[in-house]
């Protein structure tokens, strides 16, 4: 357990040191007021905590999907667009510039959850029942998702009139800590409770490690895989709430763009095998914040947002190359060769 947290913590320290050298004031947190005159904390650390929230929440579901199915869901960005669009549709009632909310925020959020879980169920069905590889199965929504999202709102970009809605993605008046931090804490508490009070963790790992043996022990592997996708769907809905709330509107082609890559990266950085099996949820979540830290750092070095993907792709390749069995075997042999040579020298 502790072993797995080592990688993300090391990466975190590395990034921290780089940033400290580059800018000694990197970790400074100041209390100021925002446009609305509310007291808010600001600083790079706060930015990382705030903007890493969606990723942290997605990492929860992605970890389960990876562990159970041995594959990843690449449709999360697109399904965030769908869930977010559904939420806007309910809030604005189909008009693009409503003067008041058509439905309570709570109702809209429930609808988003249902939509998110339906998307998850669709992916889960293709993977668990039709036995299509997870990445191919989720490729369908990956492509269609943003179009579906646009279709839900007739390609209009409705703006939520109620300022209360924007609290979820920014600050609640009087509280200087970003609301997203509380949402993440809530999600983490929920998943911690689920893992503690159900056998989900045990079942998921058992299915991911040895599907046949799990079946002989009375577990239904099809259902567990399906369930993991549905849970990811729920995480997507929460992430969508934050994303949409940040702008009080939506941009179908840009919202949560490339987030699937970051979510997969978070799972991998957490030391979890991308081919399924054992997982460490907390390492994944920590991994998510490391990714956000990396993103913030890259921004600080004046990397454009569109170019970020190129750098992260390199990180992914380095990670998978070093975790590839063939490479590990080779390194072991290399270590063996080097070790006797050292002895001779000694």
């Amino acid at each position: 357990m502790g072993n797995q947290l080592f990688i993300p913590i090391l990466a975190l320290l590395l990034l921290a040191v780089i940033n400290l050298i580059n800018d000694p004031g990197f970790f400074k947190i100041t209390l100021g007021t925002n446009n609305a005159g509310n007291p808010v904390l600001s600083g790079y650390l706060i930015t990382i905590l705030d903007y890493g929230s969606e990723l942290g929440i997605l990492a929860i579901g992605m970890t389960l999907v990876t562990a159970a199915s041995g594959g990843q869901d690449i449709s999360v960005g697109a399904t965030i667009a769908i869930a977010g669009s559904a939420m806007l549709r309910v809030l604005c009632g189909g008009t693009s510039r409503p003067t008041e909310l058509a439905a309570p925020i709570f109702v809209a959020f429930i609808v988003a959850c249902i939509v998110g879980m339906l998307c998850g169920a669709f992916n889960g069905m293709l993977v668990a029942v039709f036995k299509i590889q997870p990445m191919i199965a989720t490729l369908i929504l990956f492509t269609a998702g943003r179009s579906i999202a646009a279709w839900i709102n007739n390609n209009e970009l409705p703006i939520v009139p109620d300022p209360k809605f924007s609290y979820f993605g920014s600050f609640i008046p009087g509280i200087p800590i970003p609301t997203t931090v509380f949402i993440v804490i809530a999600c983490v508490v929920v998943i911690a409770l689920v893992l503690k009070f159900t056998t989900l963790g045990l079942y998921t790992q058992a299915v991911g490690i040895n599907e046949g043996a799990s079946r002989l022990n009375g577990i239904n592997p099809t259902f567990i895989k399906f369930l993991s996708f549905v849970i990811l769907g729920l995480c997507v809905a929460v992430a969508a709430l934050i994303k949409v709330s940040r702008l009080s509107t939506i941009n179908y082609s840009v919202i949560a763009k490339d987030i699937e890559m970051d979510a997969i990266l978070a799972v991998a950085l957490g030391g979890n095998s991308l081919s399924g099996g054992k997982f460490n949820m907390w390492a994944s979540i920590l991994g998510a914040y490391v990714i956000q830290f990396l993103t913030t750092t890259l921004y600080k070095f004046n990397v454009q947002s569109d170019a970020l993907a190129a750098y992260k792709a390199i990180v992914v390749i380095v990670l998978v190359v070093f975790s590839a069995p063939t490479v590990r075997e080779y390194m072991k042999q290399l270590a063996k060769k080097v070790a006797p040579a050292k002895k001779e020298v000694a």
Binding site: M135, I140, A144, R146, S147, N155, A310, A313, V320
Partner: protein, 346 residues
């Protein structure tokens, strides 16, 4: 020598590749006839058909490469990214560095070659999942495109523009317009390239040792190894061919649009995969046909044309139709194959 398998019926007797190819061609003709009947007008003119070819030459080329990888049991989702990268690099080279058309073609081939070498090596010799590798490849390409040049722009190079505007007239297929002037039918250079690629690849897959090895490796890796085939090399070459074709496809795309942009060929990988699958290439490998892929591209663009002329010309319908078609064909494949298995077992 009586045919002992006559009991397995039509599905059973046919070879998988031909069975799926037949389904595709039949569906294409039905769709085209449907389009003529319901939409009339445009679809009866030969130029309508040639326009489909003109607009999709690049897709035909990349989809052919995709088919090769899929037949060998892999996948490559970086092709769209590569196309965008090629178009941007060539555009920058031509306009900002005053390069020659010949040089730009070399650049396109070079990018494809580099991608093929790296991705092929990682997949074949390090045994990393092709999906993860090419996912990273896709993000890298998109990121690099922005790094090369952020803003999209049209190429003004004269030599290039001349090439771009070159039209090859097809005798006897023209129509007379309302003013009574004869308008000859034409195709662009890209179409010729695409057709050449189709013919060459068809021959390679059908008549060469390498081509048959692709099928063998996709059909059953283990068996292929036992039969004396170099599986790693075969996989490597499949990725190499796919990426080089993505490079060529990128140039043809560039030739068609005449501009460089980071948002070029968005989702092209999906179209290529969808075309291959619609054309009867099995996701699981070992089954597929280049002619089928050609028809896959044509089916896809015909249905897009139908959708847009049916008044559903909003952008999102394209994505939704493609995803829906992909989904349907995936299910058809799994049902037909399951049916066939059943017929053989009985």
């Amino acid at each position: 020598m009586k045919n002992e398998k006559s009991k397995s019926g039509f599905f059973g007797r046919m070879n998988d590749t031909n069975l799926l190819l037949t389904i595709t061609i039949v569906i294409f003709f039905l769709m085209y006839i449907g389009a003529i009947v319901f939409q009339g007008g445009g679809f009866t003119k030969p130029q309508m058909f040639f326009n489909i070819l003109n607009a999709n030459a690049a897709l035909i080329i990349t989809a052919c490469g995709m088919s090769v990888v899929m037949i060998s049991g892999g996948i490559d989702i970086s092709v769209g990214g590569v196309v965008a990268l090629v178009s941007m690099c060539c555009a920058v080279y031509l306009d900002h560095h005053d390069g020659s058309v010949f040089g730009s073609i070399l650049i396109a081939l070079g990018i494809g070659l580099a991608y093929g070498l790296v991705q092929g090596f990682l997949v074949a010799y390090l045994d990393i999942q092709p999906f993860i590798v090419s996912l990273a490849g896709m993000f890298f390409a998109r990121g690099m495109t922005t790094i090369v040049n952020t803003a999209p722009f049209n190429v003004a190079d004269e030599e290039f523009t001349a090439l771009k505007l070159t039209r090859i007239f097809i005798p006897g297929m023209g129509t007379t317009n309302k003013k009574g002037i004869y308008v000859p039918a034409y195709v662009e250079i890209g179409v010729i390239v695409a057709l050449l690629v189709v013919i060459i690849l068809f021959a390679v897959l059908r008549w060469t040792r390498l081509g048959r090895n692709f099928y063998a490796v996709g059909g059953n890796k283990q068996s292929a190894l036992m039969l004396g085939i170099n599986v790693k090399k075969t996989k490597f070459l499949s990725h190499l061919i796919c990426s080089i074709l993505a490079g060529i496809g990128g140039y043809v795309y560039f030739l068609h649009v005449g501009s460089g942009s980071a948002s070029h060929a968005m989702g092209m990988e999906m179209n290529a995969i969808a075309s291959s699958i619609i054309g009867g290439t099995m996701l699981t490998g070992g089954v597929g046909n280049i002619i089928g892929t050609l028809f896959g591209v044509l089916s896809l663009s015909t249905i897009q044309n139908i959708v847009s002329s049916a008044g559903l010309d909003q952008a999102w319908w394209t994505g939704i139709t493609i995803a829906a078609m992909l989904c349907i064909f995936l299910l058809i494949q799994s049902i037909v194959m399951a049916q066939k298995k059943k017929a053989l077992k009985a």
